[in-house]
Amino acid sequence: MNAITRRGFLGLSAGLSAAAVAGCGSGPTGAATTPKAGGRLRAAFAGGGAKEVLDPHLANLFVEAARSKALFDKLADLGPDVAAQPRLAERWEPNADLTRWRITLRQAVFHDGRPVRAADVLSSYARILDPARGFRAKSSLSVIDLANSRAVDDRTVEFALTRPFVEFPNVLAAFGAYIVPEGAEDFSRPVGSGPFAFVSFEPGKSVLLKRNPDYWEGAAHLDELQFVIANEESARVNALLGGQVDYAHDLTPTTARAHASGDRMTVVRSPNSAVQAFAMKLDRAPFDNRDLREAMFLLADRPQLVESTLAGAGQVGNDLYGKGYQYYADDIPQRVRDLDKAKHLIRKAGAEGMTIRLNTSTAAAGMVEAATIFADQAKGSGLTIEVVTGNKDTYWADILKDGVMSSFRSGAMPIETHIAQRLLSTSGTNVTKWARPGFDALYEKAVSTADATARAAVYGDMQRMLHAEGGYLMWGFADWIVGTATTVGGVSTAPANTLDWARFDKVWLG
C-alpha cells in the first residue's frame, strides 16, 4: 500500500464517518464517573501479525507494551511528569557515592501463586543483559554490574553499578524492563505479577486476559480485558462506533476533531506524548555550520506545523525534548519564525541557492506532511528543501547513517534517557551526531550529583547548549489520542509510554 493511497483512504474514511454522525448532539453524555466492577473491555490496537510476541522483554509495538503492562510489573515506572516512581520496588536507597542501590521489593505474587523474589529480579535483568540477545532495555540496564549485585534476602536486592548514577530509577522504569519469574523462557502462556492474568492468545488477532484478584495494588475493576488487532485507524474507529470495541488506540487528529463534539465516542487526549522534529546532522556539511542550523530553527513556522500536520492536536516545541517533563527548561524563550534573520544567516553560511534533501517516510503518522509543509515554509529564504520519501520499514536505521536532515519523532522517556541514548558521543542512536566532550562531561556531572537542585541546574545548562547549537529542530509535541465508548471511565491522559497510558486496571465499564 503506498503512502498516497493510504492517506487518501484514511482521509476519505474520516470524512465519511464524520458525515455519518453529523447532526448528533453536543458534548459527551453518560461518561461514567463512578468506578463500577465487572465486564469485559475490548481494546483495539494496531498489531504485527506473525511477529507478535508475549515475551515482555521483546515488546516493541504499542500493543505489546500495553499487554506487557497488563501481565507484568517493572520495579519502577514513569509517572505523569515522566519521572520514575516505585512499582514492584517499594523503595530504593543509594549509598553515598551513588554506586550501590538497595531495592526493597513489595509483597507481590506471580499469577501462579509464587512470590516475587529478589532472585526473580536478578534473573530477569540477567536475561535482558544477555550479550547474545538484543533486548531493547539492554542499553539502559548496562549501567548495572550484575556480577557484583546480589540478593540480600528474598525481598531485598542490592545492585552494584559501574559508575555513580543518581537516575538509576529511570533504569528500573526502562521500556521493557519487566520482572518475570526466574528461569522463564517460554512465554506462550505468560506468568507475571501484573493486574491481569493470561487466558488465551491468537497472534495477529486477539489476546484475552482476566482480572488478577491478588494484585498488590488492588484488583482491577474489569473482569476481563481483550486486546484485538485492527491495523487501519479507520477500522479501529468504525469498530468503536459500531460498538464492537470499547477502546480504540492511536487515532488521528482528524478523527478526534470530527468526533470531539459528538456523543458517539469519548476522545481522550494525552498531551506531550510524541515530540515531532527534524534532525540535522552536525558531523557533515551543510549542518556542521551553526548559523545554518539556526536559520532552520528560525524558518520553521511552528504554529502552522501544529495546526496543519497535527490538526491542532498538540503544542509548539522549542527545539528541546520533554516539554512538561521533570527537568524541562521552561525558562528558555520560545523560538518564533524570523524569515529576515534566517535569510541573513543563510547568506552568512554561504548556503544561498543550496538544495537540502530532507529525508522522511510514513514510518510515523504525519512525518511526510510535516516535511512537505516545512519545505514550503523555506520558500523565499534563499535555499530549497527537497523532500525525499524513503522506505518506512528501515527508516530509523537509514536516517541514523545517511542524509543530512530527516524527519524524527519520539515517544516519552525521561530527559536523562533521551540524552543518554541520543546526545552523548557514545550514544547508540545519535541521529544528530551531536558529540561534544563538554556536553558529555555535563551529563556525567548531572547523573552523579545527588542534590536535586544542583542537578536540575546542570540539566538546564545542557538544554541551553542544545537550544543554541543542537541539531534537533523540535517543532511540536503531539497529543496521543484514543477513543473510548462513552460508557468507559478511568482512562488516563498521561503521556504515551508512561505508567498510566493504556493502563486498564484503573479503567471501568459503566
Binding site: M1, T5, F9, L12, S13, L16, S17, A19, A20, V21, A44, G47, G48, G49, A50, K51, E52, V53, N60, P131, A132, R133, G134, R136, K138, S139, E202, P203, G204, K205, S206, Q226, V228, I229, A230, N231, E232, S234, A235, R236, N238, A239, L241, G242, G243, Q244, V245, A363, N391, K392, D393, T394, W396, A397, D398, L400, S410, Q421, G428, T429
Partner: protein
C-alpha cells in the same frame, strides 16, 4: 491427448512453477532494503543492537545456506519458523487460510449463480429493459474501486444505520456470519460484472450459432435449446474468468481484509513483508503459487468438459 495425461503433465509443470516462484520471491525480498533485524529494531536502531539481533535470528549465516535449508524443509512439507517470533510458519498460514477460504468460498457460491443468471437473463432479453438495467448496475458496481465501496458501505450500514457489524475485529467469522455480509458485497461487486458480461456475450454467440439454429429447426423445446445446448458453450469463456477471480480471492484480498479487519492471507503478507520475515513470505508464496496453478488447472479441466473443442 487424454485428460489424465494432460492433467499429469500440468501438475509436473506446476511443481517447477512453484519452485520458480519461491526462488523469485526469495530473491526479491532479499533485494528489499534492510532485513528482519533492522525492521525489528524499529525506532531503536543502535547498530550494536541490530548486529546482536541479526546474530540471534541467525541472519548472519550465508543467504544461500538459509534458502537451501528452507527448500530442503519444504521438500518434507516443513515450512520452517518465523524468523521474528519463532512460531512455525505452517501455524500462521493455517490460521490465516481459514478466513481467506471462508470468504473465497462464500463469494464464489454467491457469485457464480448470480453472474450466470444475470448473464443469461440479459442475453435472452438482449437490448430490453432488464438487460439494460443489469448492464447499468453491474458496470456501475465494477467502476467503484473496492476500497471506496467498502468505506461507503461501512459508513452507511455499519456505523450510520447500525444494521450490520462494521468490522470483523476480534470475532470468529464463522461464529458471527453477520460480519461477512459487507465484505461479501464488496468482493462480489467487481467480478459480478466481468463474469456476467462474459456469460451474456457467450450466450448471445451460442444462441446465434448454427447448432442452436439446427436444434430449433429439429423442434427441440426452447428451454432445452437454451440451457442444455447453448449455456454450456456460453460458460466456457466465463470459467477462465471465474478461475482468475478464485485466484484473486485466495491470494489475499488485502484492502478488504484491512477495512473489515479480517486476518487472512493478505494481512499476513503485508505484515511479513514489513517485518522482512522471509520464511513467512516464502510460505505465502508457496500457498499462492500452488492455489494459482491448481485453480487454473481445474478451470482448464472444467472448460474441457464443458466444451471439448475449446481446450484441445
Amino acid at each position: 491427448m487424454s485428460l489424465s495425461r494432460y492433467a499429469l503433465r500440468r501438475l509436473l509443470f506446476g511443481a517447477v512453477q512453484v519452485l520458480a516462484v519461491v526462488t523469485a520471491v526469495f530473491l526479491m525480498v532479499h533485494a528489499l532494503p534492510g532485513d528482519a533485524a533492522v525492521a525489528l529494531a524499529g525506532d531503536d536502531p543502535d547498530p550494536d543492537r541490530v548486529e546482536v539481533i541479526r546474530r540471534a535470528l541467525g541472519l548472519d549465516r550465508p543467504v544461500l545456506e538459509r534458502f537451501g535449508e528452507w527448500l530442503w524443509g519444504l521438500a518434507r512439507l516443513d515450512f520452517g519458523a518465523s524468523v521474528v517470533s519463532g512460531r512455525p510458519v505452517a501455524d500462521t498460514l493455517v490460521a490465516a487460510l481459514g478466513p481467506t477460504v471462508v470468504l473465497a468460498v462464500l463469494t464464489l457460491v454467491l457469485l457464480v449463480p448470480l453472474a450466470v443468471a444475470a448473464g443469461v437473463a440479459g442475453a435472452l432479453r438482449e437490448g430490453g429493459p432488464l438487460d439494460r438495467a443489469l448492464t447499468s448496475v453491474t458496470v456501475g458496481l465494477h467502476s467503484i474501486p473496492e476500497f471506496a465501496l467498502a468505506i461507503v458501505l461501512v459508513a452507511v450500514f455499519g456505523v450510520g444505520l447500525g444494521w450490520l457489524p462494521p468490522t470483523a475485529v476480534g470475532v470468529d467469522v464463522l461464529a458471527e456470519p453477520a460480519v461477512l455480509v459487507l465484505p461479501l458485497v464488496v468482493l462480489l461487486a467487481r467480478p459480478l460484472c466481468s463474469i456476467s458480461r462474459l456469460v451474456r456475450a457467450g450466450m448471445l454467440d451460442a444462441l446465434a450459432s448454427d447448432y442452436v439454429r439446427h436444434a430449433r429447426r429439429l423442434g427441440v423445446p426452447p428451454g432445452r435449446v437454451r440451457f442444455a445446448h447453448a449455456l454450456p458453450n456460453a460458460l466456457a469463456p466465463a470459467v477462465q474468468q471465474v478461475a482468475r477471480t478464485t485466484d484473486w480471492l485466495l491470494g489475499g484480498v488485502i484492502v478488504v481484509e484491512a477495512v473489515f479487519v479480517i486476518p487472512g492471507l493478505g494481512t499476513v503478507l503485508v505484515d511479513a513483508v514489513a517485518a522482512r520475515d522471509l520464511p513467512v513470505v516464502q510460505g505465502l508464496a508457496v500457498v499462492f503459487a500452488v492455489t494459482t496453478i491448481a485453480v487454473n488447472l481445474l478451470a482448464d479441466l472444467v472448460a474441457f468438459r464443458l466444451a471439448p473443442r475449446a481446450a484441445a
